[in-house]
């Protein structure tokens, strides 16, 4: 009987400890200290004649609510909420490869940083006439290292590694075999689309070769958003570092500009690609993801802006002035709207009922669609007049692709708001569409130069 109640008590304490473990503000040692307290209280109470389970209840009650407790701990140790950023919780981290994680990441980052210096050993300098070379190849320096990092971390099968290597090779060939002139439009298009195509190749490594899985693809979309944010933040820090380097050395009469331009900036940028990816992975669960938060803030704002734009058009009766860059501008608008949609989806609780935020999202998508159709109508006349150039074709193609995506998304969204379709269908549509982006990016890189005669 006594053994029984002792076991019970141990079980209850273990449960309490597990519950305490959920509160990040409480470190292992704090938990231990509190548990010692709890046990002392329980043994005092049982000595006074209470049964073990009664004593446990009273002791827990006297300890105070854990929420209140962790709030007090958080107030006292506010740094803990931040400190865990880089080295997440020791005990519950997956033991598998975590110890070698950091060295391997550093190795990949170093490889990426060195890769961009390799061409200069063969006399191809960044700042000189070979800027075109770097523009075409910029994604080939760091992204293979990133893919290698994920391939290692996810223990990707050797067949998959072969496919990854082939795709990167294909990218390298496409970027360097075609005779693209330094001022050709095709060169610019390759410089933009090859990174996109290769980023999706990195995605294959990211999902561990399991690229058919919806959930894994969604993970990759989430990862992309977080990665971009970290990359920008690291870039800002790097800018400050460079400014200080320049100023400090200038103060002692040394000119650091050459060093910064040919080493610090390119190598730092390449390494930052890997480090950002690692940071996103390391802190996945530690703090709230940023992309969904930004989405929450900006979705209503963009919706209001676009609606105001539509109202202004209707009010003034002004058509859209079709300048050269207007197609690009509205492509970017669609990308932003799509991004807002994607990251709202990525963080959404799939089972939750539709709410006000969803309506503002639908308003955003619909107004973007209407604006874009107006732009397309305005511009189609111009294209038939002037013929197709690589730039125009690419911009138009992208516009149509994004338009299709958003139109069908809007339809699915409407169905969801009226309660006829589950939200998961919208998610599946978006993750499935990644294939279209990949196909288009590769088409632009591989086929456009041939079709347009390397213009």
């Amino acid at each position: 009987m006594i053994v029984d109640s002792d076991n019970d008590l141990e079980g209850q304490i273990a449960e309490w400890r597990a519950y305490m473990h959920h509160h990040r503000e409480l470190l292992q040692t704090d938990a231990e200290e509190l548990e010692d307290h709890l046990r002392s209280r329980i043994s005092d109470l049982t000595e006074a004649g209470l049964r073990a389970d009664e004593a446990f209840l009273i002791a827990v009650k006297r300890m105070g609510s854990l929420d209140e407790l962790s709030r007090e701990f958080a107030r006292e140790h506010s740094e803990r909420l931040w400190k865990q950023l880089v080295f997440p919780g020791e005990p519950d981290a997956p033991p598998a490869r975590s110890r070698r994680e950091l060295p391997v990441m550093l190795l990949c980052a170093a490889a990426a940083a060195l890769a961009i210096k390799v061409p200069s050993w063969f006399g191809i300098e960044i700042s000189e006439d070979d800027a075109g070379f770097y523009a075409r190849n910029v994604s080939l320096f760091a992204l293979p290292a990133l893919a290698a990092y994920f391939a290692w971390q996810r223990r990707v099968s050797s067949r998959c590694i072969g496919v990854l290597a082939l795709l990167f090779l294909l990218g390298a060939v496409a970027a360097n075999v075609y005779p693209l002139a330094g001022d050709s439009q095709s060169l610019v298009l390759t410089a933009i689309h090859l990174p996109l195509a290769l980023w999706l190749v990195v995605g294959v490594a990211y999902v561990g070769g399991d690229w058919r899985s919806d959930r894994r693809r969604m993970d990759f979309i989430r990862f992309t958003g977080e990665w971009l944010i970290y990359f920008i933040l690291i870039g800002l820090g790097g800018g400050v570092l460079m400014a200080f380097t320049m100023g400090a050395f200038d103060a002692i009469g040394l000119d650091a500009e050459q060093f910064i331009q040919s080493w610090l900036l390119p190598c730092g940028a390449m390494a930052a690609i890997i480090v950002s990816a690692w940071l996103v992975e390391a802190k996945q669960s530690v703090i709230e993801n940023m992309a969904p938060v930004l989405t929450r803030v900006f979705t209503p704002l963009f919706a209001v802006t676009l609606l105001a734009f539509l109202v202004a058009i209707a009010w003034t009766n002004n058509g859209i002035d079709v300048q050269r860059d207007v197609l690009i501008l509205f492509d970017l608008l669609l990308v932003v709207v799509l991004g807002l949609l994607l990251y709202a989806i990525s963080a959404r609780d799939l089972g939750a009922p539709p709410g006000l935020f969803d309506s503002s999202q639908l308003a955003l998508v619909l107004s973007a669609l209407i604006i874009d159709i107006m732009v397309l109508l305005a511009i189609s006349g111009r294209i038939t007049e002037w013929g197709f150039s690589p730039n125009k074709t690419a911009a138009l193609g992208e516009n149509v692709i994004l338009l299709c995506n958003l139109a069908w998304s809007a339809w699915l969204f409407l169905g969801f708001l009226r309660g006829r379709m589950p939200f998961a269908r919208l998610e599946r549509w978006q993750t499935g569409y990644l294939i279209v982006y990949a196909a288009w990016a590769w088409t632009v890189v591989l086929a456009f130069p041939l079709v347009f005669d390397f213009a």
Binding site: E32, D36, H37, R41, G64, E68, E76
Partner: protein, 124 residues
């Protein structure tokens, strides 16, 4: 008798320092001593003692060490530092002044209008 939250909070630091001044101790023992000294009048939520101890440790009034008795669990002991002593002396001075002032005030009000209840509280 219920003592308000503010008063409990204000007296917590000198109480803990005062108890630690008698020798090193650990959380549960400190709490028990507070309970005995106040005859159960001073109600603390058990868990909230620890953030306070950690705060005192951070600002340097106490220091801590984990000790493991030959048999049993390891336990975190707290010890008062020199700085903690200085703080305790300062706190005692301040509390003595406050208590004196309150006594004086209540003595004069009592002479005008004898209210027994507050006077008894002041005597505690």
């Amino acid at each position: 008798m219920h003592i308000t939250k503010d008063l409990v909070a204000a007296s917590a630091t000198p109480l803990v320092l005062g108890i630690l001044a008698e020798g090193e101790s650990y959380g549960y023992a400190i709490l028990k001593q507070v309970n005995e000294l106040s005859g159960g009048q001073l109600e603390w939520t058990d868990g909230l003692l620890y953030p306070l101890l950690h705060r005192l440790e951070r600002i340097g009034h106490v220091e801590s060490a984990w000790e493991t008795p030959p048999e049993g669990r390891r336990r975190k002991y707290y010890r008062i530092t020199n700085q903690g002593w200085a703080e305790l002396v300062e706190q005692r001075r301040q509390w003595a002044t406050v208590v004196d002032v309150l006594r004086g005030v209540w003595k004069t009000t009592q002479s005008i209008k004898p209210i027994t209840a507050p006077a008894r509280e002041a005597g505690r």
